[in-house]
Symmetry: C2
Amino acid sequence: MAIENVGQSAIEQNLEQFLLVLSVSLSVATLSRVFSWFRKIPYTLLLVIVGLGLAFVNVRLVNLSPGLILEIFLPPLLFEAAWNLKWRDLLENWVPVVLYAIFGVMISVVGIGLALNQFAAIPLATALLAGATLAATDPVSVIALFKELGAGKKLRTIMEGESLFNDGVAVVAFSLLVGIPLGIEEFDLPVSVARFFVFVGVGVGVGSLIGFGISYLTQRFDLPLVEQSLTLVAAYGTYLITEELGGSGVIGVVTTALILGNFGSRIGMNPRTRLLVTEFWDFLAFFVNSIVFLLIGDQVRYDNLAKDFGLIMLAIAAVLLTRIVAIFFLGFISNLFTKVDLSWQEMLVLWWGGLRGSVSIALALSLPVALAGRQEIADIVFGVVLFTLLVQGLTTQFLLENLGLIGDRKLQQEYSEMVARRIALTRVMKFLCEEKDFRQVDPEFYDLQMSLVEGELESLSEETYQMIVKHPQLREQVNEQMRDKLLDIEADTYAELIRTGWLDERLSPMLQEVLGREEDV
Amino acid sequence: MAIENVGQSAIEQNLEQFLLVLSVSLSVATLSRVFSWFRKIPYTLLLVIVGLGLAFVNVRLVNLSPGLILEIFLPPLLFEAAWNLKWRDLLENWVPVVLYAIFGVMISVVGIGLALNQFAAIPLATALLAGATLAATDPVSVIALFKELGAGKKLRTIMEGESLFNDGVAVVAFSLLVGIPLGIEEFDLPVSVARFFVFVGVGVGVGSLIGFGISYLTQRFDLPLVEQSLTLVAAYGTYLITEELGGSGVIGVVTTALILGNFGSRIGMNPRTRLLVTEFWDFLAFFVNSIVFLLIGDQVRYDNLAKDFGLIMLAIAAVLLTRIVAIFFLGFISNLFTKVDLSWQEMLVLWWGGLRGSVSIALALSLPVALAGRQEIADIVFGVVLFTLLVQGLTTQFLLENLGLIGDRKLQQEYSEMVARRIALTRVMKFLCEEKDFRQVDPEFYDLQMSLVEGELESLSEETYQMIVKHPQLREQVNEQMRDKLLDIEADTYAELIRTGWLDERLSPMLQEVLGREEDV
């Protein structure tokens, strides 16, 4: 039929590929919950394994290009991670984060480069380039992993902060080094340092401008869907503009998202919008992760990996060795000068949890075709990424548990559930009260329900109290979480009433006044 | 720098165009709220006007292709509309919906075709093809308009139902007619009827299969993000598969979404997921609408419109005349045989609100290049679409108000606000109670707040009661809305506690049991 013929276009092909990838990922997500023995493996790593399986039978879903990774996949993942990163937590740990992000990368570049040069006779310039490609931990992989592991706040903040910021450093090292083996440029330290500052500075500058711009803009109106769209425009727009101006798109997006998540969402968005936006980015990150990790596995060429097996093993050793040196040495310095106080167990997790991922692959794929040894570097990078994802990724949980770093979690969850149940029951009681007001309910049914709920509530209240008396450390958690809750629930009420159609989308002045009053309580 | 050069790809260009379009749209959305005199104009129509302005100064943002409209924009818009369409409402009004969707389109095709043939000497086959292009009301435009107008439930259901289903009929008419003016085919009634049934049948069949398949699939697990992704896969997947099999993609998507929204979301999703998915599609529809309507305006070529001004005027007259005949004649028949009972005022709104939009444009753009008079038809379609959007679109509200069809809204809203306030205050009271439990609050502050809230609650309760006594018709609304609420709020509590980190993402068995119990209450 006529319109079908015209429609059978590139758009349709792209759409089909995209739906295929997504369908495979969702099947993995679903099956992993149905078969319990899969549940121990984080979702993202399961996707890599399935991708590897598809590559093994030579099913290639989509060609992964550096443009696709850097421009389509990276901005939303960085945005989501930085949006949820608390400024206060980051500030508490800024010294180790900055040390690891800057000097950690440098140690890795030099260490990996020297190892490949000394033991594999790769020319120094090319070896250092390989080092730069592998130097940065991957925010996508690291955050996906640590989210699922449930590690402590300090560990998560340092790990996520480092991986969000070290890409900027690695990318600038990469771009400084890439001209040298081709003979286009020579290494010049002052120029390199200047370039580094321009690269990072433009990123922070553009990111701040866009972040604060949108923060103040959204303060002037209350349009949830527009504000939600603006965050999306901010993520991709910041990346493109920063890159266009010669800065680090990664640093740009991270800056914008940190500002919007910690500042803009508080001054410019009502709590309902904030929730909407957070949920939206949760979904988007899940969505993009579902595609990225499957494709990483699916891109692997086994024959190349086999051919360069020795090189890959050497690179893995170098990556692990340079990172353990960097983590412990810089951690020791950080402990000397700050109150962060990293224990050796925590440093061990920081070392072993330093996964490499999509950013390394994007850098490797973007190596100039004219470069001698391009294929070797690409193979090394794929090999190292797979090793870190599969071997390190799958064993980090084991490490965390055996080092006693997720100890209190069970108790906390038990307690949280009790409190949650109490809140839910109180709400049920409130609704029972309202129904009575309306004089529509059978009084016997009402009384029965009421006494049931009251009885349960009383025993719950007592249990919770006993638990706090027994484990006073729970108290701190309670206070911290209780603070945000009142406002959230108040706002959620309106959100929910607007959704179910009780209230017009445009809040009337009366309700806005109530909202304003609640905020002072 | 290296990776930028590689990255300066087609991807980046597409992304830039997309961000540009979105930024313009969001500016329009924002400005329209800041300057109050814009607020009277529906957002979508404002976008068309801005698009026209850009076209006037010859700024062309993106080239709108039929593939883009039909495969990228249409599926999510149809999905969102049908997801929110209540099966019960549709069933109540199925007779007029089916009459308008099938016979209304036929009357329009023949009427417009004959008018263009008789008064503009366009060959009959070509004239009928133009008729088919213009026959169907556009779901996107109609739904966007009626959502903003706040018309009554019956009007909305009939209008949305008609516009969702009549595209199938119009597209089949178009594809039957498109071969004839080229001399490839001749018109053959039995074949045409058979084709129509295949076209619609495949759509309904594939849509049902996918809809029920996903409904039962999601019943087997509770993974909000996966279920959310599945709805997206369902929307685009159904469209592609149905078209691939020679059916109507439009009918397919509408069927899938009706099933998922009315059946799958109830049996397979917990209330929290249902809310998440609904919010997600709200956003997606806003997002796509923001692009579509701007581009419709931006595609206009003024010189062509001026050249074919006479033809366009003739077509507008024919479109209006055939629709008034169809609406009143078929409405009369529907009134004879059903209890729907359409008044002449309602029919008048159905007539005047029958906007044409993106589907007509997509059909016009997909006309074979070899067709004599192709440019004229395209001009006619753009002219008619603009007239319906701007003239009819901007005056439908006026019509609704003057025909007294949005009468009770103010009272209802006033009442809803009072109830919302009461619910919010009750929650505040509950939280005060909890704080007391924790023995952390100053008792005087506590008592003051408590008595304040109690006093307000009492007077509100009395006011609400008086209002219901005075306006008993509010009672029905109350009962209907109250039903869904208890469950929603219970589920929302957990959702919110999971979001704020009190609870683990994976609901523990204890909480699931509570959820199960609440559902029976």
